[in-house]
Subunit: 168 residues, 2 copies
């Protein structure tokens, strides 16, 4: 397999993969393209390589920046903006975990806590089933929350450890 063929395949699969995770195809494809490209790219490069419109690139790039997965890069002497993706997959993963935790898990845990404070006779079969299920989900969610914090910390420490090595 040739490099360009392989790139195309990766971009296309990563895009399809994304749709199973509530991420839009194009956003995942742009991310994939930036992941496997050594040098930063401009909006025009991305438009051309993925055959998509300027507006589409612009919106999705900004979304990726919002997720902390892509950075604007300013090349000296260049008028255009360039973009590049974090290549360390652990950093990518912890960044995604951090964001999804904040956007989804945290609000869900808050809601579940409220739902457990239900009025009525705790002996009632229906009420019991409800509070038991909600309680179970909440406990599970809290557990997951803790575990993810540990993963994030581990990655940050690893990063710090490596950063410090540079100064030794």
């Amino acid at each position: 397999m040739k490099l360009n063929e392989a790139k195309q395949q990766f971009i296309s699969s990563w895009g399809a993969f994304g749709t199973h995770w509530g991420i839009n195809r194009t956003m995942a494809q742009i991310h994939a393209l930036l992941l496997v490209t050594a040098s930063p790219l401009t909006q025009d490069d991305i438009m051309e390589q993925l055959s998509i419109s300027r507006g589409n690139v612009n919106m999705n790039i900004r979304e990726l920046i919002g997720w902390g997965l892509v950075d604007r890069v300013l090349l000296t002497g260049e008028r255009k903006e360039y973009f590049s993706a974090e290549k360390d997959i652990w950093k990518v993963a912890t960044q995604i975990i951090k964001e999804r935790k904040k956007r989804e898990l945290d609000p869900m845990l808050k809601l579940l806590a409220q739902l457990e404070e239900i009025e009525g006779d705790k002996k009632d079969r229906n009420i019991k089933q409800f509070t038991d299920t909600i309680g179970g989900i909440r406990k599970f969610g809290k557990q997951a929350d803790k575990m993810l914090d540990i993963m994030i910390k581990a990655e940050e420490n690893w990063f710090m450890a490596n950063l410090l090595k540079l100064f030794k």
Copy 2:
């Protein structure tokens, strides 16, 4: 808050939550409804409680059965089919992990292995960037794969399952 209000809220939030995970709103809502309802329900019950069509219930229930999250229940003397959801959230989670691993992670790892076998000079900056990134993602994916297997095993193993209950 009253039971029915709380149920409605849970169903609606669980549905919205699902859309961020590539699951359709209705499927997640049906799952939520079955999770918080003590007794099994018929298609008609679900139609009524969620105000959706018969066809919609039927398709999504079958999808949920395909994911191993919902079971058909036959009540003696009843002509209609009843449906109920697994209520133990750990079992729900491991079931989802198992399925997604099979449907998404395994094929992705297979593809990444192929993409690493690329033709050309390994010293070339572009080729190096590509194989490094793909290799990194693959290593990470394999790691995740192992970790998920451990979680699944833990849940399936009686002793470990009981040990885990201490943390639930």
